[in-house]
């Protein structure tokens, strides 16, 4: 198991140990082990089909055919149902943003229960994203793609969850919006939120992340420090097939 950044930091917020998953006959994840320290922002990079989304779904408790250990702030959560994991402090931003068409913008924001002291009450979200306030009574899916992404991240932040799982939040966004997402994540990190981010966009990943894991064919093949990714950018881009 390659581990360039040495021992895990003293207090890991999220630890995944020997996680395997399958879809029927197909093995999707093989013995994946990784950790994210408190307040750390770690990305998971890899080709399409490498198993990144499956990994997040496993952590969130949405994929049943899996085995291995998952600990949140030292507490084993692999036996918990998805909603219990959310209440234990996991925030989830799915790859399709997960905005409900039958819920208004404000309902989308307030649907998940608050699980801890939040630094992102509704007032602050509206202050930061006035468009969400303006359109709070509209159906969630009436927002533009970028607005929906902000809504999805804001929704996760509002719950006060300590660990956020984000699945490609920059996908399909204009550069100016990518910057906004970056700013948002950096702010959350400053406030002590831990983030595990699935990302294809290396430029974005290196802007916001502390470390990276490279996932290929369901396995962690490398753990990389931010500097290494910057240094090996073209080689990694080739690997990712971007």
């Amino acid at each position: 198991m390659p581990r360039t950044s040495g021992k895990p930091t003293p207090s890991p917020a999220l630890e995944v140990d020997g996680l395997s998953a399958r879809y029927g006959e197909a093995q999707a994840l093989r013995e994946v082990t990784l950790h994210v320290a408190q307040g750390e922002l770690v990305t998971l990079v890899g080709r399409n089909g490498a198993g990144k989304t499956t990994l997040l779904r496993c952590v969130m408790g949405l994929h049943r055919e899996s085995s291995g250990s998952i600990r949140l702030n030292g507490r084993e959560i692999s036996g918990l149902a998805a909603h219990e994991r959310a209440r234990a402090g996991l925030g989830y931003v799915p790859d399709d943003r997960g905005i409900f068409a039958t819920l208004a913008v404000e309902e989308n924001l307030t649907l998940p229960p608050i699980v801890a002291n939040t630094r992102w009450p509704l007032a602050r979200i509206y202050e930061t994203f006035p468009v969400l306030r303006e359109r709070r009574a509209h159906a969630g899916t009436k927002l533009s793609g970028g607005e929906q992404q902000m809504l999805s991240i804001a929704r996760a932040l509002r719950t006060g969850a300590g660990v956020l799982l984000l699945d490609e939040p920059t996908e399909g966004l204009a550069p100016v919006l990518v910057q906004r997402v970056a700013a948002m994540l950096q702010e959350a990190k400053r406030e002590g939120t831990t983030v595990l981010l699935v990302e294809q966009n290396l430029r974005f990943a290196t802007t916001v992340a502390d470390r990276h894991y490279l996932l290929a064919q369901g396995q962690i093949v490398e753990a990389l420090a931010n500097q290494e990714v910057i240094a090996r950018e073209s080689e990694l881009l080739r690997h990712l097939g971007v």
Binding site: A81, E107, P112, R155
Partner: protein, 290 residues
């Protein structure tokens, strides 16, 4: 002209029953992904409960209107806990078969005791009269059925659209898995939602008792229409079920002016057209798009 206007009222009365039944079906399908075939039998139980309350306990219509749906709703919750729950996660066909079997058992159970021919049930004295409407005296009770079911539909709409509970139901209907991932214990709402849908069916049954033959088969015939209405409105769409219910009722009654045989056909013709033009249903597609 007068005849057409009165037919419109008849259409609304029929539509009221379609709406109540489909509403329950839609709520149940939305949250549980169960096509509850037993819905018609539970509607029938509502009517029989009203009959039994009157016959054996001297309890009248107004009390029955409250007691029967609650009692049968609770029975529905027990049913969900004991049986339906076991089949979640399997092919929906299994629950369809289960509820179909339950239908047969409930119907035959009632038949064994009361026979097929049906039982009498009078309209409540307060509503037994009629309102003069030119051609005929329009029964007050029918006007009550229209008004009452509209009130119920609006109340359900309010709960679904304007309360946190309704928000959870809508979210779970649209994307149950994501709703769980956002920290909502969807399973906790499954049993009450099933009970609520069943209670709506039973409420329809109580309302039908003074107008229709109270017989074990009264629901098995109506349920087919309710399914057509649900498909027309869009599977799982709350507003769709209500609007399509009244729509089918009114269209069928107006069609009957030209030819009585059309009354039974119109719902299925409409369903075929909707499936061809807008496969997700009148409201289903609106929600899925945009």
């Amino acid at each position: 002209m007068e005849y057409v206007a009165l037919q419109l009222f008849n259409g609304l009365v029929n539509g009221a029953f379609y709406a109540l039944l489909s509403l329950g079906l839609a709520v149940i399908f939305g949250v549980l992904r169960v096509v509850n075939f037993a819905h018609g039998a539970l509607y029938m139980l509502g009517a029989f409960a009203a009959y039994l309350l009157l016959q054996d306990f001297g309890v009248g219509f107004w009390v029955a209107l409250i007691v029967a749906p609650i009692g049968i709703g609770i029975a529905g919750m027990v049913l969900e806990r004991l049986l339906i729950r076991r089949l979640y996660g399997l092919d929906p066909l299994y629950n369809f078969l289960l509820t179909f079997g339950l239908t047969l058992m409930i119907q035959d159970g009632v038949r064994l005791r009361y026979g097929l021919q049906g039982q009498p049930y009078p309209a409540p004295a307060e509503l037994a009269g009629s309102v003069s409407a030119g051609l005929v005296a329009y029964p007050t009770y029918r006007l009550f059925v229209i008004a009452f079911s509209i009130v119920v539909c609006v109340a359900v709409w309010y709960v679904i659209e304007r309360t946190r509970l309704g928000m959870i139901v809508r979210a779970a209907t649209e994307r149950p898995e994501l709703t769980r991932a956002l920290g909502i214990n969807v399973d906790r709402w499954v049993t009450p939602v099933f009970g609520f849908g069943v209670a709506l069916a039973a409420l329809g049954g109580v309302l039908a008792a003074p107008m229709r033959n109270v017989s074990p088969l009264m629901g098995s015939e109506l349920i087919i229409f309710a399914f057509a209405v649900v498909v027309i409105g869009g599977m799982g769409s709350i507003a769709g079920a209500v609007v399509a219910g009244f729509l089918v009722g009114v269209l069928a009654s107006l069609a009957a002016i030209f030819n009585p045989a059309l009354e039974n056909v119109i719902a299925f013709a409409l369903m075929a057209v909707v499936l061809l033009v807008r496969p997700a249903g009148l409201f289903g597609s609106l929600e899925a798009r945009s």
